[in-house]
């Protein structure tokens, strides 16, 4: 239905001597939400970070919009139009909400800053209320909104979301997922979503992968996976 925006083939990543990714093949199509689910320690976040080149893949190729990025330094990859809201959010705690969003627009060199700021505030009105507050004092949910908002400020062509529901109360999780859905449907934003909260993620996704122990075991559309018993099994028994 659409073109491939990001494609990985045989991606292998190591932390020192420990192999975290054992040859991953995946595709992210333009305008779609692609999700990777799996248990703790399966290598999902490593995959996200490997796409951004930190750590760099030791083997395999990652092609973003026709450019081989697996050997590029992180900041250059990001300049191609990939933004990430990483695991643990990693907002800058000693900067204000506004300054965090400013940092997000680094790639864009603040050219469309005002315009984008309005958009982000419209998506997450809570952030506007707290724009002058230090990010470290925000609640978990607000920090997650900020992390996503900051990623959006770069005007990415591909948005990587790593566990946006992590550590949030269920009602906030719903809010965040609604926002992701809205971004995808209204703006046509391509999203690669990593989640442990498999059911939310699969309901949203056009395309989904299940990861176990650094390998992709099952592929399909979100709806397919949602109904496959082995997905549930993999989700239940994955990890260690």
């Amino acid at each position: 239905m659409s073109d491939i925006l990001l494609q990985g083939a045989g991606v292998e990543t190591f932390y020192g001597k420990i192999q975290a990714l054992r040859g991953i093949d995946f595709e992210v199509h333009k305008g779609e939400i692609t999700t990777v689910i799996g248990a703790n320690g399966a290598g999902k976040s490593t995959l996200m970070m490997t796409i951004c080149g930190t750590p760099r893949a030791r083997a395999g190729s990652i092609v973003f919009d026709g450019v081989e990025i697996s050997k590029m330094p992180t900041h250059e990859i990001v300049h191609l139009g990939i933004a990430q809201s990483p695991e643990g959010r990693r907002i800058f705690p000693r900067m204000t909400v506004f300054e965090n969003l400013q940092m997000g627009a680094t790639v864009d060199k603040l050219q469309h800053f005002d315009e984008d700021l309005v958009k982000v505030f419209k998506l997450f009105p809570r952030l506007e209320e707290r724009r002058a507050q230090r990010a470290g004092t925000l609640s978990g949910g607000e920090q997650q909104m900020l992390a996503i908002g900051r990623a959006l400020m770069a005007r990415p062509r591909l948005l990587l979301l790593d566990e946006p529901s992590l550590g949030l109360a269920p009602i906030i999780v719903k809010l965040i997922f609604a926002a992701i859905k809205k971004l995808n449907e209204e703006e046509g934003l391509t999203v690669l979503l990593v989640e442990q909260n498999a059911f939310h993620a699969l309901r949203l996704a056009h395309r989904a992968y299940v990861m176990v122990n650094g390998k992709i075991t099952i592929t399909g559309t979100g709806a397919e996976l949602l109904n496959r018993p082995e997905v549930r099994a993999a989700y239940l028994e994955g990890g260690h």
Binding site: G16, G140, G167, A169, R232, H240
Partner: protein, 312 residues
């Protein structure tokens, strides 16, 4: 009044903790019953770990009282004591959200360090130890026996001489509990012991905690997000939100508490089996439930520890 308030092991009254302008805990009071498992739940940032840090003396609370009373009647005012004295005298032991083992030391050494105070005394504060006094040798053998007991208990006997850093994640969690138990505590504080465990492991954890409660007559205070653990084994649940208590009761009461549902669990949707808390809550069925369990929250706790450049 439920029975945990009659003769509580731990009584927290009007606890308040502020950092700069931020109130992490506001006027929190609750009791933890003797020989009971008390769970502290709530969204991230609700202040649960801060409560732990106040109880174990890592933070000095801004206001409030934390009283500990052992079965023999000895009482301690924890808010006035230094962290290590709390473990030493008041017999409170804890584990950490992000496991803090001595990763370069073997499992056995980890457990030996936990018995430091006892061994220190037996070695006449090192002097006797240097000359190899008999008293110290006996104490050391005793300590080794205790290590073996707990290593068996957490199923890690065969790895006793391996470095703790080499253990898989779930085993590290168990070892940390064993290490805390080696200090000979009366109250055990566990900060998310099930985080990052797979269902089989968290089932084992449940059994371990129940055994600690029943066989060792311990009071356990537990922070946990995994509802199968929380609902399965706790006698009493305290729910926090934004540093305040919003509910307090038995698991059955909490499940239906409207305030909890509003702030934490969210309104249930039919299409969403993942949030069907009632299914997961039935303790006996936990291991057999075929739908994925509720994992309302999980901590970041995975992958091999990678040393980060720069600071922090």
């Amino acid at each position: 009044m439920q029975d945990w308030s009659k003769d509580p092991e731990l009584r927290v009254q009007h606890l308040t903790m502020r950092f700069g302008g931020l109130t992490a805990i506001g006027d929190l009071s609750f009791d933890a019953g003797r020989k009971q498992i008390t769970a502290l739940i709530g969204p991230n940032g609700a202040g649960k770990t801060t409560v732990f840090n106040c109880i174990t003396g890592f933070y000095k609370p801004t206001e409030g009282m934390i009283n500990l009373r052992h079965a023999d009647g000895t009482e301690f005012m924890l808010e006035r004591m230094d962290d290590y004295i709390i473990t030493q005298k008041a017999k409170v032991a804890r584990t950490f959200q992000n496991i803090r083992l001595f990763s370069g030391m073997t499992l056995l050494e980890n457990l030996m360090v936990a018995q430091h105070n006892m061994l220190m005394k037996a070695s006449s504060y090192t002097i006797g130890g240097i000359f190899g006094s008999g008293k110290f040798k006996r104490a050391e053998n005793e300590a080794l026996e205790r290590c073996k007991y707990w290593l068996n208990k957490v199923n890690l006997m065969d790895r006793a001489d391996d470095p703790a850093g080499d253990l898989p994640y779930g085993a590290q969690r168990r070892l940390e509990i064993a290490r805390a138990m080696c200090t000979g505590p009366r109250l055990l504080c566990l900060d998310e012991p099930a985080a990052g465990l797979n269902p089989r492991e968290s089932d084992e954890l449940n059994k371990l905690l129940l055994s600690i409660r029943d066989d060792h007559n311990m009071a356990i205070l537990l922070i946990e997000h995994d509802m199968s653990v929380v609902m399965g084994i706790s006698d009493h649940i305290v729910v926090l939100d934004y540093g305040r208590k919003i509910a307090d009761g038995t698991p059955a009461q909490i499940k239906v508490d409207p305030a909890v549902i509003r702030a934490y669990l969210g309104v249930e949707e039919d299409e969403d089996p993942g949030e069907n808390i009632v299914v997961a809550a039935a303790p006996a069925k936990v291991a057999k439930v075929s739908v994925p369990r509720v994992v309302v929250q999980k901590r970041v706790a995975k992958k091999p520890v990678v040393k980060k450049g720069g600071r922090k």
